[in-house]
Every structure is written in C-alpha cells, then in structure tokens.
C-alpha cells in the first residue's frame, strides 16, 4: 500500500459548478484521484478548491458533468467518506471521548463497538489524558486531533480535508502533518487535501493538483517523487526544496493566468 494503485477513488468528468445564474466557480474539471493516493489541491483564493471537496462529498451537486466516488454517486458513497473541516467543528457540550464517538453514534454503531473504537483512536492520536475534558479546555492542535480521530472512527476509505491545519502555528502544523502520514501508514485511506501551504502539500502528497481562478479550473497536476514513508528530515533535503520551488512557480503561473 501507500503507493497509488490504478483503481480510481474519485473521478470528475467535465464537472462545472455555478451557483444560481452566477459565473462558473468550477469549469470543465476532469480529474482522477487514484486509490491510495494523497492528493493535495492548491491554488489562489477563489479557484474553487473547497468546492471540489463539497462536490466529492455530495454536499453540493455539479451543474454539469459527472462525479463518481468509489464507482458510486457521492451521496451513496458517504458511508466510506469522512470530512475534516478547517475549524475542528467539535460539539462544545460533549467531552473529547463523546466527540470522537459522534460519527459512529450517528451511523448507529453499537455502544460496545463505539467504546472500543473510540478508545483505540484516542490512543492513536495521543489524547488519552484529555478524554474526559471539554473542547474549550483544549489547544487548537488538540482540537484538530479530536476532529481527525472522529473522522477516522468510521474507518473511511476516503478522507477529505479542507485546510485542516490553516489556523495552527507552524510547529503544531508540522507535527500534525507527520501524524497524519503516520495514521495513513497504519490505516489505508485515500486523501484529498486542500491547502494554501506549498510546503505542506509537498511534504504530504503523492500528487499535487494546482488550480487557477476565474473561473476555477485545473491548471496542472504534479507528481511528488519523494521517498515513502516521509520523515521530518525530508524537509531539509535538496529534493524537497527543489519540489517546493517547482510547485511555487507553477502556482505563480496559475495565478497570473
């Protein structure tokens, strides 16, 4: 695993999205995300990055074109998909443990399975010590860990992440980047990751999708040929810096288009 397979997890065929009679937010997007891939979507504001995630999740529907997730319609595929939002979206009236258990609870899992799974995940993301604390007592990084644990509780095959670490300081962000890769080593999911950070995209991804604005469209898809598993030391290697430079240049071109 950890390598991209050849089976598509997500397919976009000529997908256009506009709200009402407004201009297209996304235009004629063709994109295939392969199983086992970690695909980052990067681009200037207003290029429709988040809309891509909303479309994959079925929270919004395309105006034109077709989307398949695991060969199904986005709505039918939801059981195998988890979504991590930019803010941790924790329920403040629930403890950490109850928040992690929420996704399983909504899907009607037995309380026995829920407890077992929740305990394992709290352990996995290092939150045992604060399991019975309320969200307001946690730091931003810890809240995000809770959010990640909740998303993983339903054993998703596809994980959608919308700038999950944007509000964190650089140290916490780096640490969570390493953590998310470690979790991916242990569990086998495909990731679609929206970010503003080139460094983060290069560190995490197997492929990087660069988008251009007005209207939002695909500009370029870059492969990230870096060794797996990724280690923190990677960040100081010349290959890594070279790739960061390359992606930054592509992003600049996309913006000036």
């Amino acid at each position: 695993m950890k390598r991209e397979g050849t089976v598509p997890a997500v397919e976009f065929e000529g997908v256009t999205k506009r709200y009402g009679n407004g201009p297209a937010v996304l235009e004629a997007v063709n994109l295939t995300i392969l199983k086992g891939g970690f695909v980052s979507i990067i681009g200037p504001s207003g290029c429709g990055k988040s809309t891509v995630l909303k479309l994959i999740s079925g929270l919004t529907v395309p105006s034109d074109g077709a989307i398949r997730v695991d060969g199904m319609t986005p709505k039918n595929a939801r059981e195998t998909v988890s979504y991590i939002f930019q803010d941790a979206t924790l329920l403040p009236w629930r403890t950490v443990r109850q928040n992690v258990g929420l996704s399983l609870e909504l899907e009607g899992a037995s309380s026995h399975r829920r407890e077992e799974k929740t305990a394992a995940l709290l352990n996995l993301v290092g939150l045992d010590a604060v399991a019975d604390a309320y969200p307001r007592e946690l730091s931003g990084g810890m809240k995000m860990r809770v959010s990640i644990a909740r998303a993983l509780a339903t054993s998703p095959r596809l994980l959608l992440m919308d700038e999950p670490f944007a509000a964190l300081d650089e140290m916490s962000r780096d640490r969570l980047n390493e953590e998310i890769l470690r979790l991916r080593e242990e569990q086998n999911w495909t990731a679609v990751f929206v970010t503003h950070s080139v460094a983060e995209a290069v560190f995490l991804s197997t492929r990087i999708v660069v988008m251009a604005p007005n209207p939002g469209r695909l500009y370029s898809v870059l492969s990230v040929e870096l060794p797996q598993p990724r280690t923190p030391e990677l960040r100081t290697t010349p290959q890594y810096e070279h790739l960061v430079g390359q992606v930054s240049r592509t992003l600049r071109e996309a913006r000036s288009q």
């Binding site: 009236w93 629930r94 309320y134 969200p135 307001r136």
Partner: protein, 263 residues
Amino acid sequence: MKQKLNTLANALAVFAALLALWQLVLWVFRVPPFMLPSPWAVARAVGRRLPSLGTAFAITGEEALGGLLASIVAGVAIALIFAQSRWIRRMLYPYTLLLQTVPIVAVAPLILMWVGAGAASVTLIAFIISLAPIIANTTQGLVSVEENMVHLFLMHNASPAQLLFKLRLPHAVPSLFVGIRIASGIAVIGAITGELYAGSSRVGEGGLGYSILYASSQLQTDYLFALVLAATVLGFSFFFIVMFFEWYFLHLWHESARTPEVE
C-alpha cells in the same frame, strides 16, 4: 473569596447609607408616616404582617412560576416550528413582536373578562408576557448552528431527528437560558399586574398585586412598603434560581455560565 466579601461589604455599605438618607429626609422635611414611613416602621410592618406577606408571596410566586414554566414549554415548541424554515419565520415573527409590544396593562382586563377573575387568568397574563423572549432567543439558538456542523452531521448520514436532538437543541440551550432569564423577571411583573385587576376571593387575602391595592386604599403605607419589598425579593429569587440552573447545565462547557458578571 476575598473579592466576594468585598463586594458584599460594599453592597451593605450602600444599603446602610440609603437607609440613613431615608431617615434623614423624614427628619428634615417632617414627612407624615402615611406618605413615607420610617425604615424602622417598615421593618416592624414586615414582622407584624409576616404571615399575610408570606401568603401573598406564595400566591404570586405560584402564578408567576406557572406562567414562566408554561411559556418555556410553549416557547420552545413554537421556536421549533419557527426553526423549520425562513419562510415560516418571516410570516409569523411579526406576531411575536406584537406579543412583546402590546401593553399588558391594557390586555389584562380583557383576559379577566374572558377567563374570569382568579389565579388562572393571572397565570395566563404572566405566560403571555414572558412568551416572546423565550421564542425569540430559542429560535435564534436553533438557527445559528454553524453550517459546517450541519455538514458534518450530513456526512455521517444523520437523520432529521439526530440533527435536532444531537445538534440544534443542545446548541440552543445557552440562548434558551438567556430567554428564561429575561422572562423570569417579567413573569413576576406580569403576575403582579394581573393581580391588580384580578381581585381576591376573600377580603384582605390575595397575591402581592392585590395586597398592594388593598394596602394603598387603606393608607397602610408601612405595609405597602413591606409588600414592595416582598415583590422585589420574589423577582430576585426567580432570577437567582434561573441563574443556578443555567450554571448547573452550562458551566462545564459554555463560557457564559462560568463566571458571574459581577466584578
């Protein structure tokens, strides 16, 4: 703890100063007791009439509490309907404003005419006057849930019932308490206002509103003051009981209930 004692000491000092000023005004201007009794006379009236004060306090308290509880039940139910769609809110919201702006003093005689004098109509008046803040605040709490939270629930195929009971209702609890806090004060005012019109089944016995009318017609000004004092204590009790419940339900997770607003 030390700060709390300080606050208490300050409050007591102000109270003592007010009593002194009151007494001073009596001496300097030679005010007759039927216009303004001395603090001591009021204290004596409280002692002498304690049983009837207690009865009046209990009657009004019961009516106000009944009205408040009914307005919580009905207010939350109406808010749940309002939360269903923007269209319903636009259609019906103006009527809750009407509920809030209609002068209860003008409506009270009508209600008495329709329902008949007695505790039932007074409770109804307290209910009407405390309904609007419950509806407004609870609706606000139900509809102000973050969009991403709703999306999260939808991603895990939550049913409408799960969305309501696991997301919207708990999210609305802090707002509901803001509404109850406002309503608790005006429920007491509503009950007393109602009693001003409702009269009593027996002469000299009724709620605080009725007793206030009776005392003023008899020029028993010291008793009148004692009744005003009792009404104030009743309002305060409602307020603090609501504060306690708010703290009890929210202090673990909600910022508003963590520290009292008194510095």
